[in-house]
């Protein structure tokens, strides 16, 4: 094995074949997007030793606790374990090298319960192994480039439902992590806990001048308050669902964030997004937006936002994020008037336009033209990479 030399690890009693089988399994799991490092390879051997390797159930449970780190991985693990360990004839013969350079007959009889995608990955591992390249490097590289291409895919090109689901989860997780990153930026600026001398001395008066109660200076927490306005009109249909998932992540992570959707009307969806079950969220949103038809009227929607919500929701810490392509059937005058009102109340306005990611797009729509001078940030949001790029920008605002 290229990463861990089992002679040095004190696992001799497990036997060479077994050690390599386990290490190979760990690597196989890693290639299926589990977050596993070199350390876990060693730990897996220890687990195997403790769990009595001949007891398949206990090995399964032990490795599951070690290698999984969230409920999603937990649910996928059983399948992976089954694929790898429970097809004994083919796999073992492969390890002993008795298959003469040919392909493994894996894809000819896939089990019904088994994910096709995962089978593919196991196949690719095997092909790597038969080439000249070192196995791990080849595997890692292909994983990385796949990941990279996922980051760069324009959301509108996602057609496969499985791919779509993965992307949705990724986007939502991204939003949740944003809070952590933003917070860290703020924390680093104001590290340190200090005694507030003035108030400590003031408090000591009641104890005859002895400072019994120490008062500490509180850290100021100034996370921006995010307000998201999502355009769900037909022209945005490729993106709106993903943006909703993004909004759900944001609303889940930032306690005081608010989200709205608009098309011909504007509706607050913060509560609906708070619901845990994604299917219920989808259902509720469908109810909320039922019967909407006709062109987008951004101006009117912003007006209703200003009339009903702005006073309560916006303050000098607010960052208003508008997700829209700016294709509008209303009058640009009303629109720019209302945007100016928001601008006065909020700290910053960010406009995310997925069209900006396309080659040759110029923001020539009347509405976009009117908005541009008032925006603090105008960015594309057509793929994961551009959403990622958003976070340092937000921190700067």
């Amino acid at each position: 094995m290229h990463l861990v030399n089992h002679k040095d690890t004190g696992h001799e009693e497990l036997g060479n074949t077994l050690v390599s089988r386990i290490l190979e399994f760990v690597r196989f799991v890693r290639e299926n997007d589990f977050q596993i490092g070199v350390r876990e390879e060693l730990d897996a051997l220890t687990v195997a030793k403790h769990c009595n390797i001949t007891d398949q159930k206990r090995l399964h449970w032990g490795l599951r606790s070690l290698l999984c780190s969230n409920s999603d991985e937990w649910k996928r693990f059983d399948n992976l374990f089954k694929i790898y360990w429970l097809q004994p004839v083919k796999r073992t013969s492969h390890l002993l090298g008795s298959i003469p350079g040919g392909k493994l007959p894996f894809d000819t009889d896939p089990e019904n319960s088994v994910d096709n995608q995962e089978i593919k990955e196991i196949n690719s591992t095997q092909q790597d192994e038969q080439g000249d390249e070192p196995v791990g490097q080849g595997g890692t590289r292909s994983g990385a480039s796949q990941h990279e291409s996922q980051l760069k895919t324009d959301f509108r090109f996602l057609t496969d439902s499985q791919q779509m689901q993965r992307m949705e989860e990724m986007v939502e997780r991204l939003a949740r992590r944003m809070r952590r990153r933003l917070l860290r930026r703020y924390r680093n600026l104001q590290r340190g806990q200090r005694i507030d001398l003035r108030r400590t001395i003031r408090n000591s008066l009641s104890h005859g001048g002895i400072p019994l109660e120490l008062v500490f200076k509180r850290r100021l927490r100034r996370l921006p308050k995010l307000v998201l306005l999502l355009d769900v009109s037909r022209s945005m249909s490729f993106y709106s669902y993903l943006f909703l998932r993004f909004a759900r992540g944001i609303v889940g992570a930032f306690k005081d964030a608010d989200a709205f959707i608009f098309h011909t009307h504007l509706v607050q969806v913060t509560d609906a997004l708070h619901e845990r079950n994604i299917n219920i969220v989808t259902k509720r949103l469908a109810v909320l937006s039922a019967g909407w038809a006709g062109g987008t009227r951004i101006g009117e929607c912003l007006q209703s936002f200003n009339q009903h919500y702005a006073k309560r929701i916006l303050n000098s810490q607010s960052i208003v994020m508008i997700f829209s392509d700016g294709l509008d059937t209303g009058t640009p005058e009303l629109f720019s008037e209302q945007l100016a009102l928001i601008k006065r109340r909020a700290k910053k306005i960010v406009w995310l336009n997925p069209l900006l990611g396309r080659d040759g797009y110029e923001p020539t729509a009347q509405c976009m033209q009117a908005a541009l001078p008032m925006l603090d940030l105008f960015a594309s949001a057509h793929n994961v990479e551009s959403l990622l790029a958003l976070e340092p920008q937000l921190a700067k605002l």
Binding site: H50, C51, S69, W74, A253
Partner: protein, 298 residues
């Protein structure tokens, strides 16, 4: 390894039996994981919906190991002072005053000695002579900063106190962390821990739990209750009933001398306060719905 496979398996079933005696019905896979946790001396992160018995694992484990349970309840704003240690300022000042009054020299060493140290859960857990069970409850509620600190403690099992020096664990505690998923935990923490996901129990397991916890319950009622609860979980409820709710409901029905769920629908509707905890859910489960469920449950 000195243990043969046979004794290994026996250890697992022993632990399972001990947990059962501590009134916790554990799967074999959970007992196996807990055993692994004690052997590898790694913390165990337990996740799952609210009310599936995550916290109970730690309680039962401490009972079956016959060791103390130390609990650290996390909340937003939890800091080192309330989690690790704090100097007893009042006591220190008092001591200085007394020393002054007697014209004795006060030494700094005396003031910052263990006598004036208030041990909070984390410090207490590593300074016991025998390994306790340390339960860090709802870790996702604590701030990221605390999580990072915790990571350090959990990997080295030592805590440094500037005035006293570094305190190294005299015994390594069995650490169980629980999380509800209100916030994404850091990858570093997740990787440090073993992981276990607790799902809602299936019919048989839940029935065993009810009969273990409430030995007096009659057989028909208990299986009716569990059957109903299982179907409640399949409904589109805002808050799914957990095991705690099942037990509450069963206890309430025993108190009211109910023998059979189909006997008095009005009364049963009233007892649903134990199970359905939001107004939406109450409205969703009407008398008709309940009667249907009870019919199905037999």
């Amino acid at each position: 390894m000195s243990e043969t496979p046979h004794t290994e398996n026996k250890l697992v079933s022993n632990l399972q039996r001990d947990l059962f005696e501590a009134e916790y019905v554990a799967d074999q896979s959970l007992s196996s994981t807990l055993l692994l946790m004690t052997k590898l001396q790694r913390p165990l992160l337990v996740e799952g919906d609210a009310g599936v018995g995550k916290t109970e694992i730690a309680k039962a484990l401490s009972k079956s190991f016959d060791c103390p349970l130390i609990r650290l309840q996390c909340y937003e704003g939890l800091d080192v002072n309330s989690a690790v240690y704090e100097w007893n300022y009042q006591h220190q000042l008092l001591s200085i005053k007394i020393q002054e009054a007697r014209d004795l020299p006060t030494s700094e060493k005396h003031i910052f000695s263990e006598e004036f140290l208030l041990k909070r859960p984390l410090l207490e857990a590593i300074s016991l002579p025998r390994s306790p069970v340390l339960l860090i409850d709802e870790i996702d509620r604590a701030d990221e900063a605390f999580e990072a600190f915790l990571l350090e403690v959990l990997s080295d099992f030592q805590i440094s106190i500037p005035e006293l020096g570094t305190i190294t664990a005299s015994s390594i505690p069995h650490v169980i962390l629980t999380s509800n998923g209100t916030r994404e935990l850091s990858d570093a923490l997740r990787r440090r821990c073993l992981y276990y996901y607790v799902d809602y129990p299936d019919f048989d397991k839940e029935l065993r739990i009810v009969r273990k916890r409430l030995p007096d319950i009659n057989r028909q009622l208990s299986s009716q209750i569990v059957e109903c609860i299982q179907s409640f979980r399949k409904l589109d409820l805002r808050k799914k009933p957990g095991i705690g709710e099942t037990l509450d409901w069963a206890a309430a029905l025993i108190q009211l001398n109910v023998e059979n769920l189909s006997s008095d629908p009005e009364l049963i509707m009233d007892t649903l306060v134990c199970v359905l905890k939001t107004r939406d859910d109450r409205n969703l489960v009407t008398k008709d719905v309940l009667e249907q469920l009870v019919m199905k449950a037999g």
